[in-house]
Amino acid sequence: MVAILEKRRLRDFDWVLTLLAVVISLFGTWMIYNAQPDAGYWKKQLIGLGVSAVVMLAVAFTDYRKLVHIAPAFYAFGLVLLVVVLIPGIGLKINGQRCWIGVPGLGQFQPSEFMKIPTVLMLARYFGRPRGSVLTVRETIVGLGILILPVGLIMLEPDAGQAITYFPLLAVVLFLSSVRMWLVIAALVLGTASIPAAWVVGVKTGAIKPYQQERINVILDPENADRRGFGYHTWQSILTVGKGGLWGSEQKGAASQSQLKFLPEPHTDFIFAVTAENTGFAGCLLLLLAYAVLLTKLIHGARRAPDRTGMLVIMAIVGGLAFQIFINVGMALGLLPVIGVPLPLMSAGLSAILSTSVAIGFAISIRLRRFVN
């Protein structure tokens, strides 16, 4: 019995997904090295990858249903951490945000990054029951409640970048929980229309302050906006990306934008710009393709999940990853304002790589149990 199980496990283990994740994260480590060879972030990242691989396997070979079952405990524990991080003395304040907990000997970790997993599990647990009707108002309120607790605490840090990455989790879950299609379309239309309207009204009434307008101008016209102030990050990122050209810039290494410190945060938020400078359009396109395959593969796995809960877990993860990729790369390409969201599997940071690995571990675990009932 054990032997049969083991054999099937190996057969159903998602090798492609795992390999893709490993390749992207190794590629990311190489870019972290390119960004700042002397800073040692790439070594830390390699250690992080080792730890993450172990954790991913551990999650993959654990029955996700057991974990979903005890999700409320995780969720509660996560909330406690989000409260603890706010306590001065325990939470470390970096750049005006108190979102890190220092762990002696291990460095520091970011509870808001890990909290995504219990939140996904809680949402999947609640919305995972077989559906008998369209989405009710009560369900929506409960879903919002699950989301609002961690998001509210994160906003207190304050870390708006992390906070907004929680919303796609709920959006995907609601979308797959029989929310009426006309409601979705109406919300989209209304949302799209309200942005310019709010802009015009906001500027006229003075509700949107000049410095806030400036931030939007940076996106609309980065070249003529305040390139030394608000627009600095966006402009330098655009330069770095553009400089990469088709095959990568000839001015690499010591002459690169990141090593001359023109590009800020090159190993974390702007790792994509580093990739663009070093590998050019060719490398970036391959990376985006890898993400596309990874996400499609996850969705494919979701279709074959043994139950609705498993499907929702994977799809929420897809939503979260896709959103983060779009926000991060969009920021690096000057399409979106600067928001501190890491690029999954690429950005340096133990918390980010670990939480992404756990998420992928869940996806593997769910696929492993596709014939088990």
Binding site: P130, R131, G132, S133, V134, V172, F175, L176, S177, S178, Q236, I238, L239, T240, V241, G242, K243, G244, G245, L246, S249, Q251, A254, A255, Q257, L260, K261, F262, A276, G280, F281, C284, L285, L288, Y291, A292, L295, T296, I299, A302, R303, R304, A305, P306, D307, R308, M311, M315, V318, G319, A322, I325, F326, V329, G330, L333, G334, L335
Partner: protein
């Protein structure tokens, strides 16, 4: 799927999510294509521009020497501590005052003043915190680069001029080119100044603003080199990419003899009012050996301290000084020449035939009556010949000579001696003398425009209608001394060649570019008579015996120029004391003019000054004659 339900098309919804994910990635890919492939070259260039900086290496400016190779002006490297305005945008300046005044030993009040001034300017880039920083200051700035990253140390070649204002009016000074100057053809148009083609002027350039520094800026200026470096986002240099060393400017050798110059300045410094001009010239070439104008100023003020509020205050005080120390009196001062004018009158009178060598006697009579007005002579000389009239400076003789020549003759003389033109000396801002003519009177005295005989009388002894610059007067006198060659006075002996370097071609040797002297037709016998009269002024019982030197036949003429009407010649309205001179009389080697302002009689002040300069000259050129001796009877008799 095991969990399809009746309430929704789950498969379809998942497909929508999948499509949405792919669509977002496609949007990113399209943007990437635009940035990297379509606009890649543009951004690459922009990135290069912020990475690579070209730092100018200022070329050392040529040094300036005297005719014997004594150094007059050079440049040395100094270091300034600056504050980068870019880094100070929107920051509180006051927090810097205490650390800076402590660390660099500056007065906090002064620092505050500089900051306030900088903040008032709309677009300042840098504020000078300290000039002439010491090695200790530089070390302090470097040690505090983390706390005070806005501080910079910049090398600045600085001009060093002689102290005490020696030669200030000749050398001039350097200063930053002004925005107005940059628009002038001289600094822009290659047709006007061919040197700008290879070596254009840029904002911030240090150029000659006055004196020889200005006239010969094109030779003195070097060609800046540059260093191409890679910088990081804070402008810190990461590594060198290329280096083009600067080509130094050409050294100037002037015609000035520093020993004569120092003696000349000493004479003015020791004069009662410490005001006046002395110019010494080589009468065989027009080379200026000494040019002193007092009061003087310190050119180092303009080359070194003008960037500071204290320096500007000092400069403003100089500009407003009623004694006009900035003013080169030799070329910008217009003075009535007094009796020195008589030499030119005598020469022209003979030339024009108003008097002859055989019969040069004119009545003195103690004065002259024109209409009902009597104009007196200072003495009573009977009916003297020209030689005696010069020796005794008989005014009435020259009144009558003037009347014989007429205003037309006097104007012809003025024109012959170029007194109505610039001398063409190689210094900027030379003024033209005012000389007698009916037009000048009409302008000068509009109530009584008509030219009368009395006006001719005034014009003939160097008063009222004659206002000459000392240099133009000396030039005319030199033409009398050398027999009629009117040289262009000049200060440049040569600009030394500079070898080619890197991209810069060789710069050849240059000399003073002047036309041949204008030749006046002065017959030898007429010339000899005038010279003999001037010799007698000094060596017989003339008015200029104070200039006498045994064995060195000094010729000269005193002048006492009325500043205001007769009888009011006291205090600051005292007469100017003149002396023009050359020696040896028959074969002149050196000519001089001295003007001591508002002290009185020419023989008493200007002649001894000239005497002392001759002593210095003799000590160098004829050491055997140097010790001052009383003239022997034999020598005097020889010239009788």
């Amino acid at each position: 799927m095991k969990f399809e339900d009746e309430t929704q098309n789950l498969k379809g919804r998942m497909a929508i999510i999948n499509a949405l994910v792919i669509a977002l990635l496609v949007v990113l890919g399209a943007r990437l294509y635009f940035l990297q492939v379509v606009r890649g070259d543009y951004y690459a260039e922009r990135a290069e521009n912020q990475r690579i900086r070209r730092l100018r290496i200022p070329a050392p400016r040529g040094a300036i020497f005297d005719r014997n190779g004594k150094l007059l002006v050079d440049s040395r490297s100094t270091y300034n501590v600056l504050l980068a305005g870019e880094d100070m945008k929107g920051k509180d300046w006051n927090v810097l005052i205490e650390p800076l005044s402590d660390g660099l030993g500056l007065d906090p009040g002064l620092l505050r003043e500089r900051f306030d001034e900088a903040k008032r300017q709309p677009a300042f880039e840098e504020v000078t915190v300290k000039e002439g920083a010491t090695p200790a200051d530089i070390a302090w700035v470097e040690a505090h680069s983390l706390e005070l990253p806005m501080l910079l140390v910049r090398e600045q070649p600085q001009r060093r001029y002689p102290s005490n204002g020696t030669l200030a009016h000749v050398l001039g000074y350097v200063g930053e080119i002004s925005p107005e100057q940059l628009k002038q053809p001289r600094f822009k148009d290659p047709d006007v100044n061919p040197f700008v083609r290879d070596n254009p002027y840029r904002p911030g350039d240090i150029i000659g603003q006055e004196g020889l520094e200005s006239t010969y800026d094109r030779y003195l200026r070097g060609r800046d080199g540059y260093r191409e470096v890679e910088v990081d986002s804070r402008g810190r240099i990461q590594r060198d990419l290329s280096l083009v060393p600067p080509q130094p400017g050409q050294d100037l050798v002037t015609t000035i003899d520093l020993d004569l110059q120092l003696t000349a300045e000493e004479q003015l410094r020791n004069s009662p009012n410490k005001r006046g001009v002395i110019v010494a010239m080589d009468p065989q070439s027009g080379e200026i050996l000494a040019l002193a104008s007092y009061p003087t100023f310190d050119p180092n003020l303009f080359s070194q301290r003008i960037g500071t509020p204290e320096g500007r205050r000092e400069a403003n005080a100089l500009l407003r000084d009623p004694l006009t120390p900035l003013f080169n009196r030799a070329i910008r001062g217009r003075y009535p020449p007094g009796s020195t004018w008589k030499i030119l009158m005598a020469t022209a009178g003979l030339q024009q035939g108003a008097i002859t060598i055989k019969n040069s006697n004119l009545v003195c009579g103690g004065g002259i009556t024109i209409g009902n007005k009597f104009t007196r002579c200072m003495g009573s000389h009977g009916s003297p010949p020209l030689r005696l009239a010069i020796k005794k400076s008989c005014d009435a003789y020259f009144y009558r000579l003037g009347l014989k020549m007429g205003i037309g003759g006097i104007m012809q003389m003025v024109d012959e001696f170029d007194l109505n033109k610039r001398t063409g000396v190689d210094l900027p801002h030379e003024l033209v003398s005012w000389t007698p003519s009916p037009e000048f009177k009409a302008r000068f005295n509009p109530r009584d425009k008509e030219w009368r005989d009395i006006d001719t009388v005034y014009a003939s002894f160097g008063q009222v209608y004659d206002f000459v610059t000392p240099l133009s007067m000396l030039r005319a006198q030199v033409a009398v001394a050398n027999g009629g060659r009117l040289y262009v006075p000049h200060l440049l002996k040569e600009a030394r060649a500079v070898a080619g370097a890197g991209p810069f071609p060789e710069r050849p040797r240059q000399t003073f570019d002047h036309p041949d002297p204008k030749r006046l037709d002065i017959p030898v016998d007429q010339h000899d008579l005038v010279v003999d009269g001037m010799w007698a002024v000094v060596n017989e019982d003339g008015t200029g015996t104070a200039a006498r030197i045994a064995g060195f036949d000094v010729a000269g003429k005193t002048g006492t120029a009325q500043v205001v009407g007769l009888g009011k010649d006291t205090g600051k309205n005292k007469d100017h004391s003149w002396f023009v001179s050359y020696a040896p009389a028959k074969k002149p080697e050196i000519a001089m003019i001295a003007l001591i302002e508002n002290v009185g009689f020419g023989g008493k002040f200007a002649a001894p000054a000239v005497h002392n300069i001759y002593q210095t000259y003799l000590a160098k050129a004829h050491p055997d004659l140097a010790p001052a001796q009383a003239p022997t009877v034999a020598q005097s008799a020889q010239h009788q």
